[in-house]
Assembly symmetry: C2
Homo-oligomer: 121 residues x 2
């Protein structure tokens, strides 16, 4: 049974976003469905364990955050932000979330890998 409202989907994703970006991956994963499918640059993650491992690997590298935009409707949310990774503070990331039964069931994540790990000179 789905009882999403616009506020709920956005609230859920913002709570997830605040949790992992403050380092609490365990709390973030409470908003994630067991069967989540995530498309990330160069990787597809299927299931909460794989997703948790991915997020758990990335979260500790975050040194700061600049949020740009958050929009949503009943079942979908889009976030746009600058994750700070060391000296890199203006390379954007965006996420497109699909929620089902109040949990994050799909996440399409986009960032430019080369912007975070430029080739060695």
């Amino acid at each position: 049974m789905t009882q999403q409202t616009q506020t709920t989907a956005l609230d859920t994703v913002l709570a997830y976003h605040r949790a992992w970006t403050s380092g609490d991956v365990t709390a973030a994963l409470e908003y994630v469905a067991d069967n989540i499918v995530c498309q990330a640059p160069g990787a597809e993650l299927i299931g909460k364990d794989a997703y948790g491992a991915f997020l758990g690997g990335f979260a500790p590298t975050l040194t700061g955050l600049t949020d740009l935009a958050a929009f949503g409707d009943d079942d979908h949310v889009v976030l746009f932000y600058y994750p700070h990774i060391g000296q890199i503070t203006t390379a954007p990331a965006a996420e497109h979330f699909t929620l089902r039964d109040g949990k994050i069931a799909e996440n399409i994540l986009v960032f430019d890998r080369l912007s975070y790990a430029p080739p060695q000179q």
Copy 2:
């Protein structure tokens, strides 16, 4: 004088998006401010001429489009879509637009360059 409404910002960006993704870069640029600043992966484009050259170089490579999401408020719009580039049809792109005086004044564009041009095996 700014007289934006939620509908207007989103409508403007969608008209821009439809124009260039159907190959009409000239029509798309009518929605763009002369002093646009665009942050793209690996490039910053300042001014309509530079932006038009960038868009004019990219648009002809587009072989199709899958739109995922479009959200906006008075002055900001976010688009999420899959640009099809040859055989690549599921690498996402996202854009964050800021509008001023009814024109697109800032565009933060994100896609993963490696997903479109994977290293040669």
